[in-house]
């Protein structure tokens, strides 16, 4: 008798629910929607370019892409105030772009260049841009949920109404730090927003095989006295509404929220993974449930001209072309960089 119920690979297929067409009529300003469209384009196109660069052998180290998962990043990117805080995982390109970080330093960082967002010291898994409120990408599961609490606490004590968002995966809900973080936030009514992007898999293992509840984040919310919101993570409008509500609650001292966004990654877990462990019909169905074409169509339905959308797509493409060229021709970090920035004095001396 196997320990877990279903033999590996024979897990049940989870299909997307159809897009909720009524969201077309949601009270979301059209310019905000266009901004979400743009951000989704920025993410998708950047991820595609990064993949091409990977195939060219130029991307160093590992990287985790978010093709298919753009809507959640984009919606939060638009819903957050520039001075709010966000905390990503290693799958953080999208969240980084969504906060307004330009593509060039992101690409350069993945290429291990001196002009990288963090000077070539972090790589894909550690994108950070404090000036954009993007307080870092964390590659060890769970920690940043606790760290986000600290930012929310600090905002509270400093008397600002900044909120802190932590993005994480379904797999992260089973680690101890998740429990400590949500409990702590709930206990002190911190303005932390916990956003689980449930893409149904941890690395290769289906989340359903290792989790005894259906909704790995949402079903845990009552354990902390919280309600949870489950949304279609591929529908930027759905996420935007949930984000707005959670942000408003956090800003006004109402405490933390848990949002579980249902989504799927188009590709594998990391750059080398073809994702073959996923049943074809499941992949097929989710490829159809793509946030990008749906949102394009929704904007057309809302009366935005195709020319305007096409122009945005063009602008984004041109910017990414420029960024990729610049990143490619940038120099690698100077050797002296090895020794800088362990300490606030800029150096790394541990002795006299």
């Amino acid at each position: 008798m196997p320990l877990s119920g279903a033999p590996y690979g024979e897990h049940q297929i989870v299909l997307p629910e159809p897009f909720d067409e009524s969201l077309k009529d949601a009270p979301i300003d059209l310019e905000i929607r266009i901004e979400m469209f743009r951000k989704q384009q920025q993410i998708r196109q950047l991820e595609k370019r990064l993949y091409a660069l990977f195939l060219e052998g130029l991307v160093r180290g590992t990287s985790h892409q978010s093709m298919g998962m753009e809507a959640t990043s984009a919606a939060f990117g638009v819903a957050l105030r520039p001075d709010d805080y966000s905390f990503n995982t290693y799958r953080g390109h999208g969240h980084t772009v969504a906060r307004g970080v330009p593509p060039e330093p992101i690409i350069a960082e993945l290429l291990g260049k001196a002009t990288g967002l963090v000077g070539g010291k972090g790589g894909s898994m550690h994108l950070t841009s404090v000036e954009h409120g993007m307080m870092g990408s964390y590659a060890i599961i769970g920690a940043h949920l606790c760290i986000a609490n600290g930012a929310a606490w600090s905002a509270k004590l400093r008397g600002t109404d900044q909120v802190a968002v932590a993005f994480f995966g379904d797999g992260a809900t089973n680690i101890g730090a998740f429990h400590e973080a949500v409990n702590y936030a709930a206990n002190y009514r911190l303005g932390t927003i916990f956003v689980c992007e449930n893409n149904l898999y941890m690395e290769y293992t289906p989340i359903a095989e290792v989790t005894p509840v259906k909704h790995p984040a949402a079903d845990r919310a009552p354990a902390y006295g919280l309600d949870a919101t489950i949304v279609d993570g591929n529908d930027a409008d759905a996420v935007y509404l949930a984000a707005q509500a959670a942000i408003e609650k956090a800003r006004t001292g109402g405490g933390p929220s848990i949002i579980e966004a249902k989504t799927y990654r188009h590709g594998g877990h990391s750059r080398a993974d073809p994702g073959k462990y996923r049943p074809d019909p499941e992949v097929e169905a989710w490829l159809q449930h793509d946030p990008i074409p749906m949102y394009h169509q929704r904007l057309l339905d809302l009366g935005v001209g195709e020319d305007r959308l096409a122009a945005i797509i063009q602008e984004v493409a041109a910017e990414i072309d420029r960024a990729a060229e610049a990143a490619k021709s940038a120099p690698e970090p100077p050797a002296e960089a090895l020794w800088t920035n362990v300490w606030a004095d800029g150096g790394s001396q541990w002795r006299n």
């Binding site: 950070t128 600290g150 930012a151 004590l157 400590e180 702590y184 002795r351």
Partner: protein, 324 residues
Amino acid sequence: MAELTYREAVAAGIAQEMRRDPSVVFLGEDVGGAGGVFKTTAGLLEEFGPDRVVDTPISEQAILGAAMGAAMTGLRPIAEIMFSDFFAVCWDFVANEIAKSRYMTDGMVGCPLVIRSGNGAGLRFGAQHSQSIENWAMAVPGVKVVAPSTPKDLIGLMAASVRDPDPVLLFEHKALYASKGEVPEGEIVDELGTARVLLEGSDATVVALALMVPRALEAADRLAAEGIHVTVIDVRSLVPLDTATILRSVAETSRLFTVEENPRLCGWGAEICSIVTEEGFWDLDGPVVRITTPHLPLASAPNLEDLALPDADRITATIKAALG
């Protein structure tokens, strides 16, 4: 000058900094209302209120996470990890997050925070509540590590740690809490990375830390009575490490002994021995000798615990045998 216990010095040190800088906050388990399980933080909640002195759940990861997130967004948190043994339940935050964030972000995200903790043996608490883990911390690039041995040093190094723009782990020795020492009036601010020469003698250099400092001093006294005169150095700060003071002393005495409480393998004593045998090799007239707790977990029975830790007897005998 007032006489304070090492225990009282903890609260005094924290209070000095909280009075000076409103961004200094303090959090931990039972630290507020109860004044700490060792009563080291009594009075802080009353003076600074529950906004700045936070009693937390038993969630060490949440505690250090909150401290880190607060530090990177404008506060200067002091977090307590009640017993240093418990660092093991939140080591990810120390070793992988707090220590590395500034480097990984090429300087963008710093963590000006202090984690203070009760370290060391002597109270018969057994293997899970008596460890000296300063060497765990020293082994991780990106954190500073201090371990004061007197009330005055505790206040001064606490202040230096709170004011430091980088993360500092401050180890208080549990067996020193009841010890007393003179503390000058007024603000006390010390300097990280400075060892202190407590005694000068030309026959050997003895380097010690925390509880081992009074024991090394006592051994030095006994040795002096037998005509052997040693220099005793309180390392105080493992990172940054005052290698200059140690190397200079060994250049004068030609012999080095380290007295450390952490279990034998890969301790700070090994680090100092290695530095000296690389850089001061030609100064040495004989083997470098580490006097350590054996590489064992700690037993709770008083006689076994006493046997495990270096004491004045063992320090005296080892030095005599090595020099004789």
